[in-house]
């Protein structure tokens, strides 16, 4: 196996995007994504069974397109990488079975990879504008915000040592956006819809709760509370529903833009303040933003401001690499190959709650 500039094929199917990416070392060659998002619109959220059915039909065409885009054949590939978790169990299963079949048919080594750590892997891809190689800073944090996850990680070594500092204890932030967008009749996906409407609203018109920010959860830096760096968004969603009901009960028009702006402010405020706190208290000087909610203008703005005043550099990869994709899986796979990690074999099972401490599965 070529371990210096390996050609790695990455496969992603943990949620509603079927992604196949191709990477040579740290150079991105192809990133093909087929999304079933349109099929979930009428349900107002991702339906796992619909996503799984779509993955099955999308996989081979997506693979063919990625290989064509990369100008590579399967013979050229040095290793295959696949998301083995965390994610939707049935959706992961399709990608994992397809990846194993690829490994059997080609005889190439297979790496079973952690989806969350893969989000950080895109930070190592060469800058697309300059073609420059990028190194991960020494003390790196990653703030991942999407429809499926909300986490703050510390990356000591991207191939062997990743720590979970905090995460949501209920809904993911993107899920809260979807639910609130439905309450406000703004459609799916909720993130862009609320972000757009919120621009014309007054975020201070209503004050919504910031989950897990009371002293009993926070504690102090010396004696941290149980949820010092964790988030909770289910109470916020309930508060928005109550607020809408109160306007209705009084027979008043619902100030949709103000509610959207106030909700977004509550989400973004608590995400960015806790993320920055976690970084400060762990000596983290650089933070990478990942996940689909990285597209949210207010999240980028406020996180950027707060990081800057805390002396932390915020890195935001190009948006098509922030959302779920196969290139991030290939990028992390290439790092593992270059670091001399052993492949995972073909006997593993997908793990819908795979912990970040497991960057890749051992055979």
């Amino acid at each position: 196996m070529n371990r210096t500039q390996p050609l790695v094929l990455g496969i992603e199917s943990s949620c509603d995007e079927t992604g196949v990416g191709v990477v040579r070392g740290t150079t991105l060659l192809a990133n093909t994504v087929s999304s079933s998002m349109d099929e979930h619109v009428r349900f107002g959220g991702v339906i796992p069974e619909i996503a799984s059915r779509a993955h099955l039909d999308a996989f081979v065409p997506t693979l063919e397109q990625a290989l064509a885009e990369a100008g590579a054949t399967l013979d050229d590939v040095d290793a295959i990488a696949v998301t083995s978790g965390p994610g939707l169990a049935g959706a992961l299963m399709v990608g994992v079975c397809a990846a194993k079949a690829l490994a059997v048919a080609t005889g190439k080594p297979l790496y079973a990879i952690n989806h969350l750590v893969a989000h950080v892997g895109v930070g190592l891809l060469d800058d697309r504008a300059t073609g420059k190689q990028q190194a991960l800073p020494e003390s790196l944090g990653a703030l991942l915000v999407s429809g499926g996850h909300t986490e703050i990680l510390r990356i000591n070594s991207i191939t062997s040592d990743v720590e979970l500092l905090g995460s949501t204890i209920d809904d993911a932030a993107g899920e809260a956006y979807d639910k609130v967008a439905r309450i406000l009749g703004l459609g799916y996906p909720g993130g862009p819809a609320i972000d757009r409407v919120a621009r014309t609203g007054n975020p201070k018109a209503i004050r919504f709760p910031r989950g897990l920010s009371q002293p009993k959860y926070m504690g102090t830096s010396d004696e941290p509370g149980k949820h010092r760096y964790d988030w909770s968004f289910s109470g916020l969603k309930t508060a928005v529903a109550r607020c809408v009901e109160q306007f209705e009960a009084r027979g008043e028009d619902i100030p949709v833009a103000d509610i959207a702006a106030a909700f977004q402010e509550a989400v973004v405020d608590v995400i960015s303040s806790k993320a920055v706190l976690a970084c400060r208290e762990h000596g983290i000087k650089d933070v990478l933003l990942g996940g689909g909610v990285a597209a949210n203008s207010r999240l980028r703005e406020l996180t950027g401001q707060r990081c800057a005043s805390a002396g932390i550099r915020l890195h935001v990869p190009p948006l098509d690499l922030c959302t779920d994709n196969g290139a991030m899986v290939a990028a992390l796979g290439a790092q593992l190959v270059m670091a001399g990690a052993e492949p995972s074999g073909i006997g593993f099972a997908p793990d819908s709650s795979m912990p970040v401490t497991s960057v890749s599965l051992q055979a």
Partner: protein
């Protein structure tokens, strides 16, 4: 002609069948349980090829059971078969998974001229199909596959694990009361059909049920 057959509609199984081999069987394996497809299928296929000293290039076609069966398991076999067929550049056919048990019944002494094949569809329902059988012929699918309650099925001899599960409601054949669709019979069925010039299906899964998703109704207004 050498065929790799795969079925994961209930248990996970795969087989290499050939019209050159004795009884048509080159190699086969199947699991007992219905929940470990992702772990066992690929190693099972790799092991079978290695033991037989065969590679992808030696295979003429692939056949996959397209269900009906529990969705996640069913997809694991179809995803595997589609990917193998793509990489090897070989044709991929589908066969209805209950046909595997129908052929097994036809080859046994228990065969009846008209019978049901029944498997477990979970949620207190079964997958089933009705077959007819003439002396020395392949079983013919007359009706199905369907999903429904065992109590609503036609009054005919019933074969397969679904019949065993609802033996109180069905005329379950005790010798077949635990039988699951097996890729070995599926492969043999495919060989026989191809030899007789009959067609096969494509690899589209037969889900028979919609996803459980509900379109949310309008939010109830306060007042």
């Amino acid at each position: 002609m050498l065929i790799l057959a795969i079925d994961t509609s209930a248990v996970a199984s795969a087989a290499l069948v050939s019209d050159d081999a004795l009884e048509g069987v080159v190699a086969n394996f199947s699991t007992e349980d219905t929940r470990s497809h992702a772990e066992v299928l690929a190693p099972g296929i790799a092991g079978m090829l290695a033991d037989a000293g065969l590679a992808g290039g030696d295979i003429d076609a692939l056949v996959v059971g397209v269900g009906p069966g529990p969705f996640t398991g069913l997809r694991s076999g179809i995803a595997t078969a589609r990917t193998l067929a793509f990489v090897w550049g070989k044709p991929l056919h589908g066969l209805m998974s209950l046909d595997a048990i129908a052929l097994e019944v036809a080859e046994s002494t228990a065969a009846a001229p008209e019978f049901l094949v029944v498997t477990d569809a979970r949620r207190k329902e079964v997958y089933w199909a009705r077959y007819s059988l003439a002396e020395g012929q392949l079983p013919v699918l007359e009706d199905g596959p369907h999903v429904g309650f065992a109590a609503d099925l036609p009054d005919l001899p019933a074969y397969g694990a679904g019949a065993g599960l609802y033996a109180d409601a069905l005329r379950a054949d005790p010798d077949f009361a635990g039988e699951q669709p097996d890729a070995l019979y599926l492969g043999q069925f495919a060989l026989a059909r191809l030899a007789s010039g009959a067609g096969l299906l494509d690899s589209t899964p037969l889900y028979l049920r919609e996803s459980d998703a509900q379109v949310p109704g309008p939010r109830k207004r306060a007042l």
